[in-house]
């Protein structure tokens, strides 16, 4: 109920039009929707753009340092959108990074899809930052995952990092064709390929 109303509100504020470059696949397949990250509206926007059948078992991954702080944020993240809260790897030891991947893999179980932002933080000017390696480690543990790139257009201008109020301009949510981790693929090559796939959607 609340999550639907909020999702609708976010989509209205961001004037989002949704585009699938290939038709959305079967809702029960486990997927990782990975997008470029520039605003706090991003995960709500991707979530609301999914077909309802896929939406019900898709959870966002969010940084515990931001979404776990404060009652309202915590409530929105955990109770409304059922986010998986993790410690951000950049600020913590490698052991925490491994724990985060464990936590995500556990939360996914055998039927849950997730929304992630592999840049690890919001980009200040809209350029796509280098990807963190979490996506790679997750795919090593679950090679069958479908990886769906999702490009969010214009969100940098609607709600830039550091601003509180959004300017209600129009945005686009573009879903790309699903990708997989190839057998024997090295980490840098894989992350580069994922990043390129996301960038390619910008002009789609």
């Amino acid at each position: 109920m609340i999550e639907r109303a909020l999702a609708r509100l976010a989509r209205m504020i961001a004037g989002a039009s949704v585009r699938w470059t290939v038709p959305p696949g079967a809702p029960e397949v486990q997927r990782v929707y990975f997008g470029n990250h520039t605003s706090h509206l991003d995960f709500i926007l991707i979530w609301s753009a999914l077909p309802p059948a896929a939406r019900v078992h898709t959870r966002p991954i969010a940084g515990a340092d931001y979404w776990g702080r404060g009652r309202m944020r915590r409530y929105l993240a955990t109770k409304v959108f059922h986010a998986v809260l993790i410690e951000r790897a950049a600020k913590s030891a490698p052991s925490t990074a491994r724990e985060s991947i464990d936590a995500i893999a556990d939360a996914m179980g055998s039927g849950t899809s997730i929304i992630v932002f592999p840049e690890g933080t919001r980009s200040r000017d809209g350029t796509l930052l280098p990807f963190k390696s979490g996506l790679y480690h997750l795919c090593q543990r679950k090679p069958a995952l479908e990886l769906v790139p999702v490009y969010l257009d214009n969100m940098t201008r609607i709600l830039p990092k550091g601003e509180v109020l959004p300017v209600p301009m129009l945005s686009r949510v573009v879903f790309g064709a699903p990708l997989h981790l190839e057998p024997g693929e090295e980490k840098p090559a894989f992350l580069g390929r994922m990043r390129d796939a996301l960038l390619a959607l910008r002009d789609a």
Binding site: D125, N154, R157, P160, E163, V167, M169, L170
Partner: protein, 320 residues
């Protein structure tokens, strides 16, 4: 500063609405016949687009009729919403920078709403200068405070221009409700209905004449679809209809002809200007909200320049 009353409908409005519905019925029938006859691929695409436009017209006419029938408040809400949607389409296409966030918030959440509150209050004195004076002298200062000097003049001009076109100019349409012309039976909404009817009719007729006879483009680099044949055919027909509808206006027939001509010429200028901006930004339509018509801005572009001129002509010559 008297508040407006509702509901608001009179015999003149009723007849005009009946006429519009009649036109739409004819259009729908013609569209259905054409859909059966079209054989070539391009022909089918054109007819499909035509029928999408006609369907959207039914919705737009219904919305407009409800807005006008509820008198002032309905029209003001409708045009305020159109201003908001037009402004967001416009700003989306321009190149503002990260530093302009504050200025854009002012434009969307301070100047645009206040402009329509002034229309509702019928406070003409401030309505007429809020954006050309107060927004003009405050926005660039706010933008300079943010510290980014890259393309500064272009960025501040863009926000000012967007406000002028999408909010100030559009708000002149519901501002017609402020004008009380003595001995005119159409009431205040009659003036508004006539403006919108003539401007939109002109769009439709120029499009139709262009599709049927269009050969020589007027400004090929701006819009290949605007041709001399469409312009002349559309303008003459619109002015003829506008003159024939003189009974629905406070004007004698000759003045009605002149007013229709002004509306069509300003409408054409508005459409051409917005096309030039779109062309520069590399898009065909401003948005996807109205099926077959592009965005809201693509639909109101013919009102942008026509509404203020029409308003001031009536105010100067007909309001004591």
């Amino acid at each position: 500063m008297t508040a407006l009353s509702l509901p608001y409908i009179n015999p003149i409005l009723a007849r005009l609405m009946a006429g519009v519905v009649g036109l739409l019925i004819i259009g729908t029938i013609v569209g259905a016949v054409l859909a059966r006859r079209a054989t070539s691929e391009t022909g089918k695409a054109t007819v499909a687009n035509l029928n999408a436009r006609i369907r959207a017209w039914w919705v737009m006419v219904a919305v407009f009729a409800i807005a006008v029938a509820t008198g002032g408040v309905g029209s003001i809400i409708l045009f305020a919403a159109m201003s908001f949607l037009a402004l967001r389409e416009f700003m989306t296409l321009t190149q503002t920078s990260r530093a302009d966030h504050g200025v854009l918030l002012w434009a969307f959440f301070i100047f645009a709403p206040i402009q329509y509150v002034l229309v509702w209050m019928q406070w003409y004195g401030l309505f007429a200068i809020l954006i050309p004076v107060y927004a003009f002298v405050t926005l660039p200062g706010r933008m300079a405070l943010s510290g980014d000097t890259t393309r500064f003049l272009e960025r501040s001009a863009t926000v000012q221009w967007g406000l002028m076109a999408c909010v100030y100019c559009v708000s002149y349409a519901p501002a017609l409700l402020m004008l009380v012309v003595p001995d005119y039976a159409g009431g205040r909404t009659g003036l508004l209905f006539y403006l919108v009817l003539i401007a939109q009719l002109n769009d439709v007729l120029q499009y139709t004449f262009g599709k049927l006879f269009g050969k020589r483009p007027i400004a090929p680099t701006v819009s290949p679809n605007k041709t001399w044949e469409g312009f002349i055919g559309g303008t003459l027909t619109t002015v003829a209809i506008g003159t024939a509808l003189w009974w629905a206006t406070p004007f004698p027939p000759l003045v009605a002809a002149a007013m229709s001509l002004v509306i069509t010429l300003m409408g054409f200028a508005g459409g051409l200007t917005m096309s030039a901006i779109k062309r520069d930004r590399g898009v065909k339509d401003y948005g996807t909200l109205i099926e077959g018509h592009g965005g809201v801005l693509d639909r109101v572009d013919s009102l942008l320049f026509a509404a203020p001129v029409y308003f001031h002509l009536i105010r100067f010559f007909y309001v004591p």
